[in-house]
Amino acid sequence: MKNEWPLWEIFIRGQHGMSHRHVGSLHAPDAEMAIKNARDVYTRRNEGVSIWVVEANNITASSPSDKGPLYEPSESKVYRHPTFFDIPEEVGAM
């Protein structure tokens, strides 16, 4: 391997954000420096109040070719959504 700093994926939780969101990636020698760099690269305008860093090679992603088997089954299950059921108006809000 060449002497290249590993790649880190950066996740930031914004002021009013409910969860950390992926914002991008950067190179850093270790986790501590990754957080310092993430602060400079991804929070220059108050974008966040919390940072997670994960080394990119620790992330396992689903494959695009599995899109069919993974997500198609849920397309036919419309009854999982509340709007599938008609509630009589007389019953009121539900």
Partner: protein, 330 residues
């Protein structure tokens, strides 16, 4: 435009009949505005062209720090200094977003850096012009960032997901760059006769180099058709240049400055300004490496890379040792 004269890989636009089934499915996704993501199949030429384009764009952001960094220590007030510092820091950030987008295509950061340093990859011609005085810093923000925005706003819709997301982040920040530049040059245009003269002189020197940023005229851009079909180029060079002129002329008029083009005039029929094309022989000369600052810029980047090597290596070694110690303790 921060990416100029990107040679599109491949043999040009294929008809649907000439495409393989995979290529057809790929083009259909692009036509339907579905983003292409790193793990999706893509033609090798699409990948190669994007690496060139995003790489050149990233290099431009990084080299673009040099002409402005030149004036950080000599900014006229503490406020202007803080603003310029923030702006130059943004440029570093923009370079990093773009390098990361390029890396998702399978090229490493070090490879990209090395290709810049040994001249195999280019950066925008505009950064080979010097910033001689403080008025130039205003002109760069106003004109150079203004021209960059023109190109970057449509690129937010580009077909490659990571590139598109980088452009969206960049555009959010870029407007500050142009406005701080206009604000700085306005201060001078409204200042003493001497300051006013400096502002006019900066406009005189940066006008044509700014027009060159969009790349050669459409009739000389042989590679656009395929890049446009792939939606990695959204508008033609001439379209964007015209848009830039139309937008900038009234801004100059407000400042009471004169665009250095005696033939510039409003064309009622076209609904656009007619203007003089830049000297394209100068452009090709600068691209070839003969601009006023090419040697300095590349020397500065090479020096930074070489001088920083012990820091990069040292931090990596420190991280390795720390990890080893942790493993030993367990």
């Amino acid at each position: 435009m921060y990416a100029q004269m990107i040679k599109t890989a491949g043999t040009g636009v294929k008809s649907r009949e000439e495409m393989t089934e995979q290529e057809r499915a790929f083009q259909d996704k692009i036509d339907a505005d579905i983003k292409i993501e790193p793990k999706d199949w893509m033609p090798d030429d699409y990948r190669a062209t994007l690496i060139r384009q995003i790489g050149q764009h990233a290099h431009s952001e990084i080299v673009g720090q040099l002409p402005e960094g030149n004036w950080i220590t000599r900014a006229p007030t503490l406020e202007r200094k803080a603003i310029l510092l923030a702006k130059v820091q943004d440029e570093a950030g923009h370079g990093l977003y773009l390098y990361c987008a390029a890396e998702t295509l399978g090229v490493s950061r070090d490879e990209l850096t090395e290709m810049l340093l040994d001249g195999r990859m280019k950066y925008s011609s505009i950064f080979n012009y010097p910033t001689l005085n403080w008025a130039d810093i205003g002109a760069v923000g106003w004109l150079v960032d203004g021209a960059a925005i023109m190109n970057q706003v449509p690129l937010q819709r580009t077909s490659y997901g990571p590139y598109s997301r980088a452009m969206i982040r960049i555009c959010k920040e870029e407007s500050f760059h142009q406005r701080q530049g206009y604000d700085a040059i306005r201060k001078m245009a409204e200042g003493t006769p001497e300051q006013r003269k400096m502002a006019q002189d900066a406009l005189n020197r940066f006008w044509y180099p700014a027009l060159m940023m969009f790349g050669p005229s459409d009739k000389d851009s042989v590679h656009s058709a395929q890049s446009m079909a792939w939606k990695i180029k959204i508008n033609t060079n001439d379209e964007l240049r015209q848009k830039f002129v139309d937008q900038t002329v009234p801004q100059a008029e407000y400042l009471g400055l004169t665009i250095p083009d005696p033939d510039l005039k409003w064309n009622e029929e076209r609904g656009h300004y007619d203007f003089t094309q830049p000297d394209w022989s100068e452009f090709f000369d600068v691209i070839k490496g003969n601009g006023p600052c090419n040697t300095d810029r590349l020397a500065a980047r090479n020096k930074a890379w070489d001088d920083g090597r012990w820091v990069r290596d040292g931090l990596l070694e420190h991280a390795r040792k720390k990890r080893a110690r942790k493993v030993a303790a367990e």
